[in-house]
Amino acid sequence: MNLVPNGMSRRHFMSHMAATAATIPAIQFMQHLQVHAETVKKNQKACILMWMGGGPPTIDIWDLKPGSKNGGEFKPITAAGTQISEHMPKTAAQFDVLNTVRSMSTREADHGRGRYFMHTAYVPNPTVVHPTFGSVVSHELGSKRKELEIPSFVSIGGDPGSPGFLGMGNAAFVVNTQGRIQNADTDGMDPNRFKNRLAMLGTIEDSFIASKRGEAPQAHKDVYKKAIDLMTSKQMEAFRIDKEDPKTIDRYTNAGAPAGMMGRGNNDFGRGLLMARRLVEAGVPFVEVGMGGWDLHANVFNTLKDRNLPAMDTAISALITDLKERSMIKDVVVVWMGEFGRTPRINQDVGRDHWAASWSVMIGGGNLKGGLGVGQTDSDGLTCESKPYLPGNIWATACHALGIPTTTVHTSKRGRPMKIANGEAPIAELIG
């Protein structure tokens, strides 16, 4: 299965793979391999993004409006120093390390534009593709983790967006929650033969790269390098949640409860968060886990109550408990968001439509404060009554938690300086 025999250093192996001389005899080649014990680095900073695809109705989850005509069917309950939905009781119990930011005002109420804005902190612009935040973290932290052999940005059933000007080397590695990475081994091929193939490939690629056809040919080579790294890595175990204690899997997925109608309800989101925890332990600095089924133009309350919220509550509370038990909560910042919120007004189909003017995200862990509800909307949820926040504020806060200076500036391909998190400031109440 694996190209590298047990106990051998993949990186050492690869240095030979990369050699263009295809003449080293197999035995000599094997002798060069050294035994190297993989050490899992603890206490590395990381971010887990919980992406709520479709636009979650935060007015029913984090910022309830009892007594308003827009309030809907749910009641708030206490969660540390704030209140959240009664259908999130297990998460409420973990809220000492979590916070809501209730005055998001992000103006993009289209899925594509909202997804872009929330992931990059920049509004779409035809002259530049901004990097999604996972790619930013991959660029900033992943490149420094020399021992990391798997991609430094993993998206589990999410919709991560583009690495933009940071290049395909920082693109998300998109996987599903089954943890089985397709085509990740050479099916028993002799490593020498594979090495020969790579040597030939290198020659062809290099001549095309040298032919002045833009950056894409080099990016192709970079991605292949990452793919080959991954094929030979023992860290691939991190994707295997079946290696976990069944009790742990059960805690995340609450097995037995009905799975979501859209195939990624209950079980899948929980499995995704469990995989995220394993990946973060292996040193991956950014993991995005997607949960879909939020585009609730109709029948919002029953869907939330019976499907989305129980699944989400189980998964999030399990993750936070787990991170606490493993003493990782101080190092791992969690962010929960979607493209936008949903209309305070309840429509004729008992649904809520797209709404970006006043909504909430959740953020916590890392070294951030906890238990707070930052910002507020009016009693009907229609406008922000306190300082409005942009996605840049959320990502700047995450930068702070990750130890990435908020003064960091990247340069676009045309030499234009691009401030990290669009130059926004971290949310003061959270970093104190």
Partner: protein, 592 residues
């Protein structure tokens, strides 16, 4: 931001791009001076609208076209092509870039095959083309490819993906949509008629496959909101989806206009019929029908941001549409049919401009606007006069899609090499955010479908002739499914891991498809080459031709010769490894 919008607005008007809108009441808020600009532009329209305009243009404008102007031709004599070349050249002059050289025949034939018929050229066609001394061979090949059955297949795929997505939502028939498109491209039906059929379609989802377009926008009950947004975006190049909730900050689309458009989509109703499947022991989908509701309100209501409720009547850019009529069967008139006709009326409707812009971007990788489906005053075109003229000529040609492709593929810009030079790589690098000037051809990644079909051609699998169109497409579709993720939003968003990222690399290196492609079974490409081509040198050359469309260079030849200098029982493995490396290379996966 406001200032920015204002100045762009003026440029838009001056560039006279707002053709379809210009006469309408929708623009009543315009400044007087921009109206002036528009009427001047309209006068100019009239002047340049005729076919002889190229020769009438002032010499001052023609001069910058420079010394190479007469040199390049594909052999086509269409006068519009000179106009395209002049306009593109003007852009080079204005931006002080020099074009790259013309592409060699090997580079060009690979590109034009991939772009028109969706796969790499068969080896024997490359050899024939390289040996052909006919000066008009490029334009002749374009004509030939437009008559190739693979042309129909490729463009059916492109438009099925655009209309219903790679992964058709549930209760949508990809087969039905493809059947409709296949007929349209086979008969080269005028594009305006195709659009009318798609926008106004009613009936059974396999008998009238065009209904699947609307069905795919009805995944969620949303009063036709998604159908409205998608129709304006895809067929008219106008992004209105953001105006649904509020006045869009960037363009002139008003919330009211969105709902006026939406009014045309309020009769939609879907009927889903199930049947008992004795094998499965349960009910399964039998068919779906898109029907029309009678007695729908004449107005729709929407809520403005300030909370006021307003009514919107069926209007097209301020032009009231009469939908109170009955059709010949006594039903309320099909409002979508009324809309489709309004959309395709006139000398340069947005439907024409949107199609020209999209087709241009299909071939060049970039349209005249970024993004390609966002035309408007807020987003000025890079070559406004060219876009406008092509739009007008496309209408005059009776929306002849093949003719549009001929114009594009016979243009000088399309025939340049993809190698940049010092004189254009900085200023003309749209991947890094510059305006596309088309001074060299930009790399495009093969789509998953192009890769699949190319591997079939490159490995001779197409010659076995063992499966029907539908079987082959079914097999391809199963393979394609591994890359697509859908997000279950009302827009039917999906993403693909066939995007140059790691999963694609893993699939190419270790997946079954490439394994099959390099297999040595009887009848396979490698098997044939090894048995029928005696010399290693020729074998290597043919491997390069079939994958990259060129001969190996000296260094590659040397390396390859070393690789295959092995005992006979290892030859096959050596050739497999070389084939593997070629198929996995950047040069193979890019269209260049």
């Amino acid at each position: 931001m406001r200032m920015w919008c204002g100045s762009r607005m003026a440029r838009w008007a001056a560039a006279s791009l707002a053709i379809a809108i210009s006469a309408s009441v929708a623009m009543t808020a315009e400044e007087p001076e921009s109206k002036d600009a528009k009427s001047k532009a309209a006068a100019k329209d009239a002047k340049t609208g005729s076919e002889k305009s190229t020769s009438e243009k002032p010499t001052a404008e023609a001069k910058p076209a420079g010394k190479k102007r007469e040199e390049f031709t594909t052999g086509s004599s269409d006068v519009l092509i000179s106009f395209i070349n002049e306009q593109i050249r003007q852009g080079w002059v204005d931006n002080e870039v020099e074009p790259s050289e013309a592409a060699g025949d090997g580079e060009w034939i690979r590109r034009v095959y991939l772009d028109i018929v969706g796969h790499v050229p068969p080896m024997e066609e490359i050899e024939k083309f390289l040996a052909d001394k006919d000066k008009a061979k490029r334009s002749k090949l374009i004509d030939k490819l437009l008559d190739d059955p693979a042309y129909v297949r490729h463009w059916t795929t492109v438009w099925a993906n655009l209309t219903i997505g790679q992964q058709a939502p549930r209760e949508v028939s990809r087969k039905g949509m493809e059947k409709f498109l296949r007929e349209a491209f086979t008969k080269n039906r005028p594009w305006n008629e195709v659009v009318i059929d798609i926008v106004s379609a009613e009936g059974n989802f396999e008998e009238n496959g065009a209904v699947n377009y609307i069905l795919a926008q009805m995944v969620m009950p949303d009063d036709g909101v998604q159908a409205t947004a998608k129709t304006t975006r895809l067929f008219m190049g106008m992004q209105v989806q953001c105006t649904q909730c509020h006045n869009h900050p960037f363009n002139d689309w008003q919330q009211r206009q969105f709902w006026e458009f939406n009014n045309f989509f309020r009769q939609l109703t879907k009927r889903t019929v199930q049947k008992y499947d004795p094998k499965a022991g349960r009910n399964v989908l039998d068919y779906v029908e898109l029907n029309r509701r009678d007695n729908v309100d004449d107005h729709v209501t929407y809520e403005r941001r300030n909370g006021l409720i307003e009514a919107a009547y069926p209007r097209y850019f301020g032009q009231d549409a009469d939908v109170a009529k009955k059709d010949k069967d006594g039903w309320d008139v099909n409002r979508r049919e009324v809309l489709a006709k309004l959309m395709t009326e006139g000398e340069k409707p947005l439907v024409s401009l949107a199609m020209v812009n999209r087709m241009w971007s299909q071939f060049f990788g970039y349209g005249f606007t970024k993004p390609v489906d966002d035309l408007g005053p807020h987003n000025p075109a890079s070559h406004p006069e060219l876009l406008e003229r092509l739009g007008a000529e496309f209408v005059k040609s009776r929306y002849d899609v093949k003719q549009l492709i001929r114009w594009i593929c016979n243009s000088e810009a399309y025939n340049l090499t993809s190698q940049a030079t010092k004189a254009n790589e900085e200023k003309d690098n749209p991947a890094a955010g510059t305006t596309a000037l088309f001074s060299h051809v930009y790399l495009k990644s093969m789509s998953a479908e192009q890769l699949y079909d190319s591997l079939i051609v490159a490995t001779n699998a197409h010659k076995s002739g063992r499966s029907s169109w539908e079987q082959a497409e079914d097999k391809k579709r199963v393979w394609l499914r591994q890359f697509v993720t859908t997000f279950g939003t009302d827009e039917g968003d999906e993403s693909t891991t066939f995007n140059g990222s790691i999963p694609q690399a893993l699939m190419m290196m270790n997946g079954e498809l490439v394994k099959d492609a390099i297999s040595a079974q009887k009848g396979s490409f490698l098997n044939t080459i090894l048995s029928e081509t005696p010399q290693d040198k020729d074998r290597i050359r043919r491997l390069y031709l079939t994958t990259l469309g060129r001969n190996p260079n000296a260094k590659e030849q040397q390396m390859a010769a070393g690789v295959v200098r092995v005992p006979n029982d290892q030859k096959l493995a050596a050739y497999q490894d070389m084939f593997w490396a070629l198929l996995n290379s950047n040069e193979f996966i890019f269209i260049h």
